[in-house]
């Protein structure tokens, strides 16, 4: 395998695969579907191949590829992954397979274009996680918006134009600052290698400017309070598949950006402003929890719940600085581990939640909680999954939702009991908004004749939900494989963060 440009294949197989899918045309939807599924499966299997060639004990980049790309500005086509990237790449390719299966009968209009857009999106997102050249990263980072823009704009709901523009503007607004920071770093180092940027010494003033540029870019993606309001709108208007990818993978790019750029490039500024990010994360957990409680639209509720859960990601990353200062290196690792586990877990759980909402929407064409009630009577299997994912969303031990939160809460308590207390509030508020949703939708008497006519989930839907469920359980009962996969780069990162650049 080592001779194969595995990462290039992972990026370009789905993107190139989109071309024949497009050629299948409007009139052969079935061909387009099967072809897409095939390409998605190939991509997924290729991503699993990473696990076998990977050296678990090295924190260095592996499967490295490097070719001249833009020699004039010393930017290279540089690819490489560590355990963190591999985990996110597998999440991406896996989610893609389930999204394709999930869209099978749901998308009826311009099937070939939808499927092609999904494939391109997958390739580009894998590119983001695999790029070792900052300019290449930036290109993927921006290019990814286009297929997502199309998915929401073409197959979305009635207010899709407002949502897409809001989504686009927010993200662009953030990434402009990142571009400036990257150009500055390029002028410093003479090339676009991310590794070189991580090693270049920077003064505190430089670090502060660069840190805030990155913070704005990635905070929008995560999204962090107060730049999160694009997310509920985007979710509400997106088709199910778009929502799933958005929640399961795209938000993780923000967390990944912090790990790859903001923390190692500007460790001193990040340390100095850690209090700010920690505060915003805790606001996300508590304030957004309350906001989620009162949502009347299921997708908005889950979108807000995503913001709250992603709060644990940023919290886990930034308490690290307090912990390193106190000399608790293991707890610092636990914080980053927790935030990584939370990202992967949130990928599964939010993906499953949006799929579940899609299942209901396909039958009733409404996302309003008040239109539902008593689904357990007519859709027992669906109810089983919905309750299961709801409990996972509430962080029940035995599901993946617990692991990351548990790690981050323990690490937070080490940093400060008050941070731990605020973070632990998720146990109450998270259970509150999720189980209240379950109560109103799943339990109770059949609410209306329309609900009574709903059919239980099909084998295809069971496949998608059961796949998510198995991973949620697996990670909940045995997180060690994931923890082991990412331990070496995290050790490396904590080591880096312990050394000032000044």
């Amino acid at each position: 395998m080592s001779h194969w440009p595995l990462l290039s294949l992972l990026i370009w197989v789905p993107i190139a695969g989109a071309i024949p899918v497009l050629f299948a045309g409007q009139n052969r939807p079935s061909t387009a579907r099967w072809l897409t599924l095939l390409i998605s499966l190939v991509t997924f299997i290729l991503s699993l191949a990473l696990l076998f060639g990977y050296n678990y004990n090295s924190g260095a980049m592996q499967f490295v590829e490097s070719h001249a790309w833009l020699p004039a500005i010393h930017s290279r086509y540089g690819l490489g992954v560590d355990g963190i990237s591999i985990a996110l790449i597998i999440l991406t390719s896996f989610t893609n397979v389930l999204v394709v299966v999930g869209a099978w009968e749901v998308i009826r209009d311009k099937v070939h274009q939808y499927m092609a857009a999904m494939l391109v999106l997958t390739g580009l997102m894998i590119g983001i996680f695999a790029a070792t050249d900052a300019l290449l990263f930036y290109v993927f980072f921006e290019a990814m918006l286009i297929p997502m823009f199309i998915i929401i704009g073409v197959w979305g709901g009635p207010r899709r134009i407002y949502a897409t523009i809001k989504f686009f503007l927010f993200t662009m607004f953030g990434s402009i600052f990142m571009l400036l920071a990257l150009i500055f770093l390029y002028l410093k180092t003479g090339n676009f290698s991310i590794a070189a940027m991580q090693h270049v010494p920077l003064t505190m003033t430089e670090q502060t400017w660069i840190f805030f540029s990155f913070l704005i870019a990635f905070a929008v993606k995560v999204p962090m309070v107060p730049v999160h309001t694009w997310l509920p709108d985007a979710h509400v208007e997106a088709p199910t598949g778009g929502s799933v990818v958005l929640a399961a993978v795209m938000l993780k790019i923000g967390g990944y950006g912090f790990i790859r750029f903001a923390l190692p490039i500007t460790p001193d500024a990040a340390d100095h402003f850690a209090w700010l990010v920690i505060t915003l994360s805790l606001i996300a957990i508590i304030y957004i929890g309350y906001v989620a409680l009162v949502q009347e639209d299921m997708k908005k509720l889950v979108a807000y719940s995503s913001v709250a859960h992603m709060g644990f990601v940023t919290l886990g990353l930034f308490i690290v600085f307090i912990l390193i200062r106190d000399g608790s290196v293991d707890m610092a690792k636990l914080g980053i581990q927790g935030s990584m586990v939370q990202m992967i877990s949130h990928g599964f759980i939010s993906g499953a939640m949006f799929t579940s909402i899609g299942v209901m929407y396909d039958r009733m064409h409404t996302r309003m909680i008040k239109d539902y009630g008593g689904l357990a009577n007519v859709m027992p299997w669906f109810a089983l999954f919905m309750v299961f994912f709801g409990l996972a969303n509430a962080g029940l031990p035995g599901t993946s939702g617990f692991v990351g939160e548990f790690m981050v809460i323990i690490a937070s308590f080490h940093a400060s009991p008050w941070i731990g207390l605020a973070a632990a509030f998720t146990l109450v508020i998270g259970a509150g908004y999720t189980l209240w949703l379950i109560k109103r939708v799943v339990w109770g008497e059949v609410r209306s004749p329309e609900v009574a006519a709903m059919k239980d989930i099909s084998a295809r839907e069971i496949f998608v939900l059961a796949s998510f469920a198995l991973l949620v359980l697996w990670l909940g009962f045995w997180p060690e494989p994931l923890v082991h996969l990412i331990h070496a780069p995290i050790t490396e990162l904590v080591h880096t963060l312990g050394h000032s650049k000044l």
């Binding site: 409990l391 790690m407 189980l435 339990w443």
Partner: protein, 671 residues
């Protein structure tokens, strides 16, 4: 010797049973589902007894091994593993035995229910979860079991998910428990912070290091580490074991089918908090502050929630409030450092309280799902087995020698009277008066249900069509009759330990060093050791009762109740009227529900709506996002004016610019 294989079978057999009964319920049918679930729990039960035998008489050592690594981060790790010592073994025996009884009982009780297979799946899953909780050797797995039993409780309270009250009650139960669990998780985090491990054995070994360690919670206020850890962990116990002020979920949990009220909400799950504190005795012993808190909370729960039981009309709610009160006794024992007495009462209570619940269930079936005691009375001649066994349970509950409850409750009261902690005086009077209250509500319930005049009538034409459709209260289609053997057999099997276990177990459990190193008590706190000085055997302990306060207090309660309900039934109403305000406070359960609903449920939603409107809609989207959009638009409108397209506008602007420029040069004097 104990082996990992045996323990794995004990824990996993019910899980397998649950999976089969639940996922393949339709394929294997009702008989298949109840057979597989009951059988799996029977396997666990038999093996648990074997483990108990090995540990107590077989000379086996405690078992403590990890099964697999849950995660390893640096030198910090979490594992899944089992710790089985005598404390665990006792819990395993109690849990699996009562679970087995409840499984058998359910075959009869739920016979007509469409969710039959689902029910068996849930109760088998519960058994697995509870076993994981008691068999854990570390805090992480403890929390897993802790939440898993909470989950099954949630599912079972809402088992009849069409009932609005049931799905309200299960949400409430879960959320109130989560409040406690928030403290519990922070307690675990504090253990990691101070002791650096999740493993029990390591944590307890390092516990002495906690002495003298403090943490700054508020600037200038140093908190003792041991107090902080213990109070946080105890918050979890207050949720799960329904102690004031987190008790509000337990009475509502009676919305679930009666077998689970017996299994989960009386005998096992709700006692998890008591078990947990006993398990954590090496930590709690280090903080007298925490122990005082535990003692006062327990004693308060024991007395005040017992009072509420007296005014209930629903037979299940009487027993539910009684459970709260008895849990209070157990917790008070923990606070007095009489952990063994707490566990002892946990065990006797598990038998007699599940007996009472199952008996009440038997009555409820006979009364066609009528639970209001005002429509019962005189049932003793219709259902003799239920009648007699429930009397056994009631006498045990009231603490009448030689029934089991007498030994455990009397030990607790004596232990509390010997405690020297802050608040022990208050606690003693509370648990002592609690005895009067216990006897009162228990005898009232028995009199109203089985004695006196029949307050229902039999009318074959009363119910038409649907058997269980809403019918006029107090009117039955056919006379009540004794339940079938699957219902009465568990009653009899539970009546036996309710009668005997106290006398048998008091000596080894409390004074015989049964628990060995499982429970740690500081010599200065060791009230049981003081009591051991004058304890000889169960006979003399029994005789001693007749010259001690609790017995006569109980007798007083019985005398008053008997007079009111047997001799002068009209008196009850007059007393209620006479004590108007007090009666109303009790009927409204001290207004906890109203307060919490207004403050947390309604308040939470109002807060959420306020934050959403003010924060997300107005401030962020309104002012910042759309505000900046409209700012850009306004700027654009302004600049658009400049680009009018008329040449003379541009020419004028150029001339104006030129003049300004020249003027600038002239006035500043630069060329």
């Amino acid at each position: 010797m104990l082996s990992m294989h045996t323990l794995l079978i004990i824990a996993l057999a019910p899980l397998a049973g649950a999976a089969l009964a639940g996922l393949l319920g339709r394929q294997i049918g009702r008989v298949g589902a109840h057979s597989v679930a009951t059988l799996s729990v029977a396997v666990s039960c038999v093996l648990s007894f074997w483990v108990f035998y090995q540990l107590v008489w077989g000379g086996a050592h405690s078992f403590n091994e990890n099964l697999y690594t849950w995660f390893q981060v640096g030198s910090f790790s979490a594992h899944v593993g089992f710790l089985v010592d005598r404390l665990t073994a006792l819990m395993m025996v109690v849990v699996t035995f009562i679970s087995l009884m409840v499984h058998i009982y359910t075959i009869g009780y739920m016979a007509d229910d469409p969710g039959y297979q689902r029910f068996f799946s849930y109760i088998a899953l519960f058994t697995f979860s509870m076993l994981m909780l008691v068999m854990s050797n570390n805090f992480m797995q403890l929390f897993f079991g802790w939440e898993a039993v909470g989950l099954v409780s949630y599912l079972l309270i809402g088992f009849w998910y069409k009932r609005p009250t049931a799905i309200y009650a299960n949400l409430k139960a879960f959320l109130v428990n989560r409040v406690g669990d928030m403290g519990f998780v922070l307690g675990i985090a504090a253990v990691v912070y101070f002791l650096g491990t999740l493993d029990y054995a390591q944590a307890f070994q390092r516990a002495p290091e906690l002495v003298g360690r403090t943490i700054q919670i508020l600037p200038g206020h140093a908190w003792s580490a041991a107090t902080l850890i213990s109070l946080l962990l105890f918050a979890g116990a207050m949720g799960k074991s329904a102690q004031v002020p987190l008790h509000v979920w337990l009475p509502d949990s009676m919305e679930g089918p009666t077998p689970i009220s017996a299994l989960i909400h009386a005998a096992t799950m709700v006692t998890a908090g008591v078990f947990m504190v006993a398990r954590m005795s090496p930590l709690f012993e280090l903080s007298s502050t925490a122990l005082s808190f535990v003692l006062v909370i327990g004693a308060t729960t024991a007395l005040f929630l017992g009072l509420v039981s007296i005014v209930q009309h629903d037979i299940k709610r009487v027993i539910a409030y009684s459970t709260l009160s008895q849990l209070g006794y157990m917790v008070a024992a923990l606070g007095a450092s009489a952990y063994a007495a707490g566990i002892f009462h946990l065990m006797t209570h598990a038998f007699f309280k599940s007996l009472l619940f199952l008996g009440a269930g038997s009555v409820i079936i006979a009364m066609h799902h009528e639970q209001d005691m005002r429509h019962m009375g005189g049932l003793r001649k219709y259902m003799p087995i239920t009648y007699i066994t429930m009397w056994v349970g009631s006498l045990a509950l009231s603490g009448i020698p030689p029934f089991a409850g007498f030994y455990s409750k009397d030990s607790i009261i004596e232990a509390v009277s010997n405690a020297h902690l802050w608040g022990s005086g208050y606690a003693y009077w509370s648990v002592l008066l609690g005895v009067f209250v216990t006897a009162t509500y228990t005898f009232r319930m028995m009199y109203l249900t089985f004695h006196g005049k029949e307050r229902f009538r039999v009318d074959p034409h009363a119910v038409k069509g649907d058997e269980h459709a809403s019918h006029e209260p107090g009117v039955l289609a056919h006379p009540p009759h004794e339940s079938s053997w699957v219902v009465t057999l568990p009653l009899i099997l539970l009546a036996i330990p309710s009668l005997l276990i106290g006398a048998v177990a008091i000596k080894p459990l409390l004074f015989g060093g049964f628990f060995g190193s499982s429970i740690y008590v500081l010599p200065a706190h060791n009230v049981l050791a003081e009591m051991a000085g004058h304890f000889q055997d169960w006979e003399s302990f029994t005789l001693h009762a007749f010259v001690s306060a609790p017995f006569w207090v109980a007798m007083a309660g019985i005398a008053v109740t008997s007079y009111v309900y047997l001799v002068k039934p009209s008196l009850a109403g007059r007393i209620a009227k006479g004590l108007g305000p007090l009666y109303r406070v009790l009927c409204n359960k001290f207004y906890f529900d109203e307060l919490y609903f207004a403050l947390f449920a309604k308040g939470g939603v109002r807060l959420g709506r306020g934050l959403w409107k003010a924060g997300d809609s107005t401030l962020i989207d309104g002012a910042m996002v759309n505000g900046s959009v409209s700012l850009v638009a306004r700027l654009a409108r302004f600049f658009r004016v400049l680009q009018s397209g008329y040449v003379y506008h541009y020419a004028f602007a150029m001339i104006l610019g030129l003049i300004l420029l020249l003027a600038g040069f002239v006035f500043t004097g630069h060329a």
